[in-house]
């Protein structure tokens, strides 16, 4: 094959990478600034939801792609992050960014607790464990409720319906949408930064074979726990963003089924490509809203998603994003050298 390229690639590749990162910055800016000019505020809220769930889907995809682990608890992790964020916002009045980090760290801690079963289990058994954790969270939060400015430890009061303050720099819907896009982009950059470094190499070996990873000096439990912590951290951040979007959270909107749905859509969207997370979130938030707009019950989306999942598992293991990538390379005649699998 073409073995003549290695010596010459170093500087052009760097330039390409730079131009690519500038391109990505422009893309993020465009995503953050353009839609508000075109859309009514209801749709802007939906799009804010898309931006937030993109981060969740990216966090799920990280575990699936890198370690082959199925987590059906990410909406519960969002809820846990959101709970902590709300509690701090009402209890201490700390700035939004502090609440967001605290929510992320709390969910990362929970993620690390999930990681313990993951050290010994994979596949169906791990999925079942995470699903049960999601179910347990739904029950607990239905009892506790989300803090809404009430007193006591749980911060819930039936009558006082306070609103969570948004970040000072993004208090209106337009600003908050852009804020969410930027935070999500930063979160995905954090994932990418991990993947191209030491952690990414360790995860790649673990996915290939744990025996090979161990015999190459990789501390397998540590890197598995790390992946769960990172994934949980991002889900927790997404949870606080969600709390900021609605300025409150409803305990009923975190059933275990939602975690299953967002996982399924992450597979449909494509776990091997960042665009896949965006597609997953768009399907998750936009399709029901669009159906409602057409006068069809939004729950009909579940039927469409079920069919899409079967389609993805049967014919497109890399999801819609993978199909788009194939299409693009066919259209522009650009082979990607088989390095995106």
């Amino acid at each position: 094959m073409m073995a003549s390229d290695p010596p010459v690639v170093s500087t052009p590749a760097l330039a390409l990478w730079r131009s690519r990162s500038i391109g990505l910055l422009l893309l993020v800016a465009a995503l953050a600034l353009l839609p508000p000019l075109l859309l009514a505020s209801l749709w802007l809220k939906v799009l804010t939801g898309v931006a937030i769930y993109t981060l969740t889907a990216a966090a799920i995809a990280l575990l699936y792609r890198r370690l082959g682990l199925v987590s059906l608890a990410h909406v519960a992790l969002m809820g846990a992050g959101g709970w902590v964020g709300l509690r701090l916002a009402y209890g201490l009045g700390t700035p939004f960014e502090v609440n967001m980090l605290a929510g992320g760290i709390a969910a990362a801690g929970l993620g690390m607790v999930f990681a313990y079963p993951a050290l010994r289990m994979r596949g169906l058994y791990l999925a079942l464990v995470t699903l049960m954790i999601a179910g347990a969270f739904a029950i607990i939060v239905n009892v506790l409720q989300f803090p809404n400015g009430g007193g006591g430890w749980s911060g819930f009061a039936v009558k006082s319906a306070g609103y969570m303050p948004r970040p000072a720099i993004a208090s209106n819907d337009v600003g908050y949408y852009a804020y969410c896009v930027v935070v999500t982009a930063l979160g995905m950059a954090l994932i990418h930064w991990h993947e191209i470094g030491k952690a990414g190499r360790a995860w790649a070996l673990i996915r290939r074979s744990e025996a090979a990873a161990m015999s190459s000096g990789v501390d397998v439990p540590f890197y598995k726990v790390w992946a769960f912590a990172l994934s949980g951290f991002l889900a927790g951040i997404a949870g606080v963003l969600l709390a900021g979007n609605l300025q409150m959270l409803d305990a009923r909107s975190f059933p275990a089924a939602e975690s299953v749905m967002i996982f399924a859509l992450t597979i449909v969207g494509g776990a091997w490509n960042p665009v896949g997370a965006l597609i997953a979130a768009a399907l998750y938030r936009l399709v029901p809203a669009l159906l409602n707009d057409f006068g069809v019950n939004g729950d009909a989306a579940y039927i469409i998603f079920g069919a899409a999942l079967i389609h993805a598992l049967a014919t497109a293991p890399r999801g819609i994003a993978g199909q788009l990538e194939d299409l693009a390379s066919r259209l522009f005649g650009r082979s990607n050298g088989g390095n995106t699998r």
Binding site: A204, A212, M214, S215, G217, V218, D219
Partner: protein
């Protein structure tokens, strides 16, 4: 010097290694024996995947018995597997870099170690290629580069030559022969290819049913009637 002291491993009712006691002291030691003799189990005990029921392992004065597999790797133990374990989605370079990630080395030392390992195994030209596009031999050499990177002390190779052409095995042979001098590590080599064993191993141990049949100079071991009996399945008289 690697000292194996009365190591016993049993899986259920099967004794895979039976009070194995041997001191392995050559630069390259061959391990041969019929299928099911306990060769791979022996490597698994050395790399820490299998905990022996009893017995101890010392290598260069350090007791390995209680160490985790990744700690043994960080100490200086490397191994390749019967089925090579190169990672498709990483470049050749990153496949090797993994092993250096866990060592407390400076950036420059890591780059030097990478370059050294890739040159030693003859795959420098593939450095930035994705492993997904490599042939079986290049993948095997990638795995071997991972084994020799980062100044290892002991390298375990489990049938590295299986399935390759004569010229490929010749390349493999010269790489294995260079390990002691260039890398400064001891090598244990399992292979069914007696020519490869003869050409690389100063000493050879023979296992059968988990027990040591003999250990000594490769030429005399291969000429030993007991060894021939083990291979041909004849009863000793």
């Amino acid at each position: 010097m690697i000292e194996i002291d009365a190591v016993t491993v049993s899986f259920g009712g099967v004794t895979a290694l039976n009070t194995l006691t041997v001191q392995l002291d050559a630069p390259v030691v061959g391990i041969i024996g019929p299928n099911g003799a306990g060769k791979t189990t022996f490597l698994n005990v050395l790399s820490g995947f299998v905990r022996p029921n009893s017995g101890r392992i010392h290598a260069f004065g350090r007791e390995l018995t209680g160490m985790q597999p990744h700690q043994r790797a960080q100490w200086g133990l490397r191994r390749s597997f019967q089925k090579e374990q190169a990672v498709d989605e990483l470049t050749v370079e990153d496949n090797v870099r993994v092993v250096l990630d866990s060592l407390p080395l400076s950036r420059d030392v890591v780059e030097d170690a990478l370059t050294g390992a890739l040159e030693f195994t003859g795959i420098s030209a593939l450095r930035r290629r994705s492993v997904a596009g490599l042939n079986a031999f290049e993948r095997r050499m990638t795995e071997l580069a991972r084994c020799v990177a980062g100044s290892p002390k002991l390298i375990l190779l489990d049938e590295p030559g299986a399935g390759f052409s004569q010229s490929e095995v010749a390349t493999l042979r010269s790489v294995i022969n260079g390990i002691a001098e260039t890398i400064g590590a001891r090598t244990f080599l399992i292979d069914h290819d007696v020519d490869l064993i003869q050409a690389t191993c100063q000493r050879t141990m023979v296992l059968d049913f988990g027990s040591l049949v003999t250990y000594g100079e490769t030429a005399s071991v291969l000429a030993d009637p007991k060894v021939r009996a083990v291979y041909l399945g004849m009863e000793e008289t």
